[in-house]
């Protein structure tokens, strides 16, 4: 047994233990924190599995953003409102535990039996990649070969925002309990961290065509910046979605739709990206849209405005 496998086993055991704790634990607040740590361990697992793209996304979106959203929602619904973590009847829980236990065994055994086939889609991607002008195979799949998935994924994000606007009705935007910006640490955080976040975002976006990174990771960082500005009160949530907000929210999907549908008019199959310019256009639009959408979802607002205005 190598050191690597020891590391894997420690990570694996920690993942299982944490997940059990998260779903059955006693204090919701603590378990949200544990869930964020679970996300960090998943990110470490991605690193171990050789997928830095996913480690980036998991850390930023899976753990960071989801965790921040959970914490905000937890705060909105008041203190620990949980009466008891699980259903009272232990018999039911036992039956469910036995059933899910056998589910685990079946899935685990089935998955262990899988042998990689020699001509998988992944190999086809690596073969076809040079024709796209992209150096990062994952970006190639996301934007070129399976662009439809990514386009519809942008629609999912848009629907999440529209849905949140719908269910929140005319309620005032989520109260954001701001951290006092006059405290020296928070103030300097804003002036130092915000520009760095922007720099990291642009770096990730540009790196994404050839190295790990890309629109999703960049947007997560940018969202982080937005969240920071909401938390410190630099951006304030509003109850009205202005024209610019609406335009920016649909920009990612719109860029995809225009390029994807436009390909049909110039004689290509739909969803064909006809040049590197299309990749950069779509990635930039996606990054801005996702970041704004996520920040709005975080603030549960329809729009944002600057502090002074």
């Amino acid at each position: 047994m190598t050191v690597g496998v020891v590391v894997d086993m420690m990570l694996g055991l920690a993942l299982v233990a944490l997940s059990l704790r998260v779903v059955t634990g006693g204090s919701l607040f603590r378990d949200i924190v544990l869930f964020i740590l679970f996300g960090l361990l998943v990110a470490l697992s991605w690193a171990r599995l050789g997928a830095p793209d996913l480690a980036l996304a998991e850390a930023a979106i899976g753990a960071g953003l989801t965790g921040a959203l959970m914490l905000m929602a937890y705060r909105s619904i008041g203190a620990d409102t949980e009466e008891r973590p699980v259903r009272r009847r232990p018999g039911v829980a036992l039956v469910v535990a036995v059933l899910t236990g056998s589910l685990v065994a079946v899935i685990g055994l089935a998955a262990l039996g899988i042998e990689r086939v020699p001509d998988a889609a992944g190999d086809a991607v690596l073969e076809a990649l040079p024709g796209t002008g992209l150096g990062n195979a994952v970006t190639g799949v996301l934007l070129v070969f399976r662009g439809l998935d990514t386009m519809l994924e942008m629609a999912v994000l848009l629907v999440a925002l529209l849905g949140a606007w719908t269910v929140l009705g005319d309620a005032r935007p989520g109260r954001v309990h701001r951290v006092d910006r006059r405290t020296p640490l928070v103030g300097s955080l804003l002036t130092v961290v915000a520009p760095i976040t922007l720099l990291v975002a642009v770096h990730l976006l540009l790196a994404g065509t050839d190295a790990p990174g890309g629109a999703f990771q960049a947007c997560a960082v940018l969202t982080g910046c937005g969240v920071l500005m909401v938390l410190t009160g630099t951006l304030r949530p509003t109850a009205v979605a202005g024209f610019a907000t609406r335009l920016l929210v649909v920009a990612g999907l719109a860029a995809f739709v225009l390029v994807g549908a436009g390909a049909g008019f110039v004689g290509h199959a739909p969803m064909t990206l006809t040049g590197t310019w299309a990749v950069y256009l779509i990635e930039t639009a996606m990054m801005l849209s996702i970041a704004l959408t996520m920040t709005l979802l975080f603030a549960r607002a329809r729009g944002l405005r600057g502090e002074g205005s």
């Binding site: 599995l49 992944g122 949140a164």
Partner: protein, 103 residues
């Protein structure tokens, strides 16, 4: 025992924990935590069973997981908005309080 085997086994156990939590948990937010735990398990399974190419894990599987992560956070954000509104309207954090089939 190889790296893949460890993660496949861990992921199926985590998936089971998520299903268990989703069914027995009371608090809606804990159910959402369970769903997110489940989706992480699905993603890890997806990457590990897809195997590796000479240039690292299967790029298609990586792309699918990336798409899946974004969809998961979008769905979670929407579910949390619904949850917050539900709590504002009813003051209840679980669906179990009363059966509204006939109401």
């Amino acid at each position: 025992m190889s790296t893949e085997v460890v993660y496949v086994l861990a992921a199926s156990a985590v998936f089971g924990a998520g299903v268990y939590g989703l069914i027995v948990a009371n608090h809606l937010m804990r159910k959402l935590l369970a769903l997110n735990v489940m989706s992480s398990a699905v993603f890890v399974t997806m990457l590990t069973v897809a195997g590796t190419t000479p240039e690292g894990p299967d790029p298609v599987a990586q792309a699918l997981v990336l798409t899946g992560i974004v969809i998961a956070v979008a769905a979670t954000a929407f579910a949390l908005a619904l949850l917050v509104r539900l709590v504002q309207e009813t003051g209840l954090v679980s669906l179990r309080a009363k059966d509204d089939d006939g109401a």
